[in-house]
Amino acid sequence: MTERLHEALDRVTRVRGVRGVLLVGLDDGLVVADAVMEGVRANAVAALAASLVQRLARATATSGIGQPGFLHLEAERGALLTLAVRERLMLVTVAEPGVNVGLVRLELLRAGAEVR
């Protein structure tokens, strides 16, 4: 699975504007696998994104709409996209502004299928 997973992560990074993609444990915020450009702090992104999604999960559960699936967060100098894959794992993508979100989501779904 490891080789197929890395190939799938590499495919996500081939989308123009993607600076890195990580498979992260939702509970521990640790990196399971990653493909990131230089300058992306994988450990920091993983820990903070997992914390963010866990807090969002509490909000969505309280609102009665279940667990978050896909998250697209636009920031001043880029975007963070996360996708829940298999129980307690998620894919996290760091991208530049203007990235094709639909394409990234498609590649994340494909990568997620390799994890399941």
């Binding site: 992260v24 521990d28 915020g29 640790l30 450990n43 820990a47």
Partner: protein, 155 residues
């Protein structure tokens, strides 16, 4: 009211920042011999003494195990139960090697604790004053210093 108590003032800022960012419930900073320099979250001196003794003992035994395995020293140890996680790490500081014991709950994670622990080590290195000249350690001095530290931590 702050739940952080320190024996030396330079420890306060970095420790408070670490606790606030990582969401740690309990934190101890101590020497490898078990002398507590700072704590956050403990309410009873006896708990600090027990945690410090256990942390020091665990660090010593895992260090010895690492020596037997000839793999160099272990850097950090983490353990998770259903309700709490425990992170124990040895780190270098301008005041010599120190240990940190961190207990965290569901509101944090080992990833967050590790992330902000790296910052804590950097912040402590920047905040530490020059080391005082080392005097020989006497048993009587150690006990007196231990009692003074506990008095400071729980006054």
């Amino acid at each position: 009211m702050s739940r952080t108590r320190v024996v030396e003032p330079w420890l306060a800022g970095p420790l408070e920042h670490f606790v606030s960012e990582s969401g740690a419930r309990l934190t101890l900073i101590l020497t490898p011999a078990g002398q507590v320099l700072a704590q956050h979250g403990f309410t009873r001196a006896v708990d600090v003494m027990s945690a410090a003794a256990l942390a020091s003992g665990i660090a010593a035994s895992t260090g010895e195990l690492a020596r037997l395995l000839e793999g160099g020293a272990f850097r950090a140890l983490s353990h998770e139960s259903q309700r709490h996680g425990v992170f124990l790490s040895r780190f270098a500081s301008p005041r010599g090697p120190l240990l940190a014991l961190v207990v965290y709950g569901y509101e944090s994670s080992i990833g967050l604790v590790q992330l902000f622990f790296e910052e804590l080590v950097t912040d402590l290195a920047a905040a530490a004053p020059a080391a005082p000249p080392r005097a020989p350690v006497l048993a009587a001095d150690f006990e007196r210093e231990l009692n003074e530290s506990l008095a400071t931590l729980f006054r």
